[in-house]
């Protein structure tokens, strides 16, 4: 989910246009608005590294899609 606002230890996160509160208590203050986080049971438990995701996807698309696999 993407963090759309932060108020102290509480954030509002969004996925598919749906918003829900999430506690930031389990993450160091490294989260900022716009970050993607993994939310479990009302807590953000990890940040999602967008850069890494993009790379993984690019790699997958390159290596595994029919065009690439010829």
């Amino acid at each position: 989910m993407q963090v759309i606002s932060i108020d102290g230890d509480q954030a509002v996160a969004e996925v598919d246009g749906v918003k829900r509160e999430a506690s930031l208590m389990l993450l160091n203050d490294e989260v900022t608005v716009g970050d993607f986080v993994i939310v479990h049971a009302g807590f953000a438990i990890s940040k999602l590294d967008e850069e890494d995701a993009r790379e993984t996807l690019a790699l997958m698309r390159e290596v595994f899609t029919p065009e690439s696999m010829g």
Partner: protein, 363 residues
């Protein structure tokens, strides 16, 4: 951009499946990989991933469903607590149908117990605030992903000065049973799809001993279809190369060290102990109980209650299933005496349970 959707890309998934098929085409014996996370079990069934894999790759489920590995005695205590007139039981929905020795939370609720489903332990804290004359108990079940959220709720309750919030804790940690299963001669696991979110907390390093001591390849894998198949592909490659190392497929979320803040909170609120795993037995240091300094929040210590004598369910193969030794379809009760609407064993209860997933999606 929604990353989720792209990790469900049909072309990528198909390509991965084709690659795995190509890689394993020459194998005479199938490779057996185990996932030890309920969410992986769900994803595999829900997306029908087994139907995309060649016969050379067998995916089996380990003890990854928190509800399923929770012993009967825990549930019996929760049921006994639920019968106290000033107690509100709060829980994740999956616990409701789990049969204890002679009843279930759903049944107690029907008889009048106040049992409420919440989505976060913080919701339970809110309920405690709103019901000062009641004792609110959260059923703390789950692995290293859930345990920090429960620890967080205890810290919140402490900060708020609440004296009516309690946790009945039965948390388990993942690496220990993986070690046990790796050592089991009856089982030959060719590799682990290591859990995604558990690993976000504990980090990839936590699995190194499996490679080093037991020579089992490990890949920390995400939950999306492309993640799962890529994890399988990476395990296949290690196997073919004769390697046994920890790799992180799910690198967009999981680091080698995990989440230090969550680890610190876990260490603050909980202490390791020798937990009882349904069907597996007591494993040294495999559980988390509430530390002495938070004893006031521990339902077990703070609210003494008489618990009925334990009665195990006859004929249920849950234990074997949790070890990955048999598949749900091997259980004679599966789909007959045992169904999700009237489960015999815990594996049929939680939507993450191997039997429940097999029943719902597997046919």
């Amino acid at each position: 951009m929604n990353y989720l959707d792209q990790f469900r890309d049909k072309e990528i998934v198909k390509g991965l499946a084709r690659r795995i098929t190509e890689l394993t085409a020459g194998l005479s014996e199938p490779l057996t990989f185990m996932e030890v996370c309920g969410t992986h079990t769900m994803a595999i069934y829900q997306f029908g991933l087994r139907t995309l894999l060649p016969p050379q790759v067998r995916l089996i489920s380990g003890p990854g469903c928190p509800v399923c590995v929770t012993p009967n005695g825990y549930l019996d205590r929760a049921l006994a607590l639920s019968r106290l007139s000033d107690v509100i039981i709060t829980t994740f929905g999956d616990m409701l149908r789990v049969p204890g020795s002679s009843s279930s939370l759903m049944e107690e609720r029907a008889k009048g117990a106040d049992v409420r489903i919440v989505y976060s332990p913080l919701d339970a804290v809110q309920i405690a605030i709103k019901n000062p004359s009641k004792r609110v108990i959260f059923l703390g079940v789950g692995f290293e992903t859930t345990a920090p959220t429960i620890a967080g709720s205890i810290l919140s309750a402490q900060k708020l000065g609440l004296t009516n919030y309690f946790v009945l804790a039965s948390h388990k940690t993942m690496p220990q049973p993986m070690g046990i299963l790796s050592a089991d001669p009856e089982l030959s696991v060719d590799g682990y799809l290591c859990p995604a979110h558990v690993s976000a907390i504990i980090g990839g390093n936590a699995y190194r001993f499996l490679c080093e001591e037991y020579g089992v390849p490990c890949v920390v894998t995400g939950f999306e279809p492309a993640d799962v198949l890529q994890g399988v592909e990476m395990l296949v490659r290690q196997r073919l190369a004769g390697e046994a190392k920890v790799e992180i497929q799910y690198s967009r979320v999981v680091s080698w060290e995990g989440n230090p803040k969550a680890q610190a909170i876990l260490a603050e609120v909980f202490t390791p102990f020798d937990a009882d795993w349904r069907g597996i037995g007591v494993l040294p240091g495999s559980g988390l109980k509430i530390a002495e300094r938070y004893a006031a929040f521990d339902a077990e210590r703070a609210i003494p209650v008489e618990v009925e004598p334990l009665k195990e369910h006859r004929g249920c193969l849950c234990g074997e299933i949790l070890k990955g030794k048999v598949s749900p379809f091997d259980c004679p009760l599966f789909g007959k005496a045992c169904t999700p609407e009237s489960p015999v064993g815990a594996c049929m209860v939680s939507s993450e349970g191997t039997c429940a997933a097999a029943y719902k999606y597997g046919r």
